[in-house]
Symmetry: C2
Subunit: 168 residues, 2 copies
């Protein structure tokens, strides 16, 4: 996808057109570009991760879940959901598949039976070692310095926060 996408072209054109509320339009058009840039970058990351995660038998969202569990084993579905911004509609089947792959186990919490705790199996823990190569390769594919990546990351996190609070 080397050509500028439609939304971006659209954003530049309002500047040339004579519009009644011109101050509002350029800002809105630019925002369309930003959201589309994020859309495109997110898909690009998915495509970059796929060949690396295929040998591990993981999809990218499953990889994120595994990372959350490597960080904190045994947390309930709700905890994983809060960390990843996903609800149980997404997580339930995803976790089921991870269980079927033998990477995690799902157990009802004894003290609160509404909760289902997700624990890593031995196989699931050992997979963390293979995952290191994945992140190294992605690090190279990103193609910028650590500081630049960090700066961009911080801006995106701030943007996400602003979008989320604007919903309220």
């Amino acid at each position: 996808m080397k050509s500028a996408p439609g939304p971006e072209n659209k954003a530049h054109q309002p500047r040339k057109a004579s519009q009644p509320n011109e101050p509002a339009r350029p800002a809105a058009g630019l925002d369309a570009m930003l959201c589309f840039a994020i859309y495109g970058a997110a898909h690009a990351f998915n495509r970059s991760y796929k060949p690396l995660l295929d040998p591990l038998g993981l999809t990218y969202p499953q990889f994120l879940v595994m990372m959350a569990l490597w960080d904190e084993d045994g947390q309930p579905v709700k905890g994983i959901g809060e960390k990843l911004g996903l609800d149980s509609g997404t997580l339930s089947p995803l976790l089921k598949r991870l269980e079927q792959s033998g990477l995690v186990a799902r157990q009802r919490d004894r003290e609160d039976e509404r909760q289902v705790r997700i624990t890593l199996t031995d196989k699931g823990r050992e997979l963390q070692r293979d995952a290191e190569g994945v992140m190294t390769a992605i690090g190279h594919a990103v193609g910028c310095s650590l500081d630049e990546a960090m700066s961009l990351r911080n801006e995106l996190v701030a943007l996400k926060e602003r979008l989320s609070s604007a919903d309220e």
Copy 2:
């Protein structure tokens, strides 16, 4: 989602741990953070767009397709796909639904019957007016200046390009 997600915590921990290949690990860890920040921001945009697009009867991907068509009406499926980075597996059913909504028409190209050209209906063209309010509202929700949004957009487009070329 106010707490730091697992991948981000994971990224900070390798710095404290004594690892044999420490120069590679922080970069890879940080990249995990960056990809997750994009994942989160993309979802946040989806959530921000939904209440605005629901009254128009559009989903966010459909909205992007409409924007591409408002910019250039009558292009073939392949052209839309190139602009949005989507293949016919995604676009075919999506365009069918837009056709069923009466917003577009799909016609076989007379000169090359493999191609299907997508044209806006009157209803589809008029919808552009309603879409202006959507982009204004999103512009406010983004919550930063035009220059900042432009700068962030440029970095993301560059990142996407680098990721895409690393695949080759």
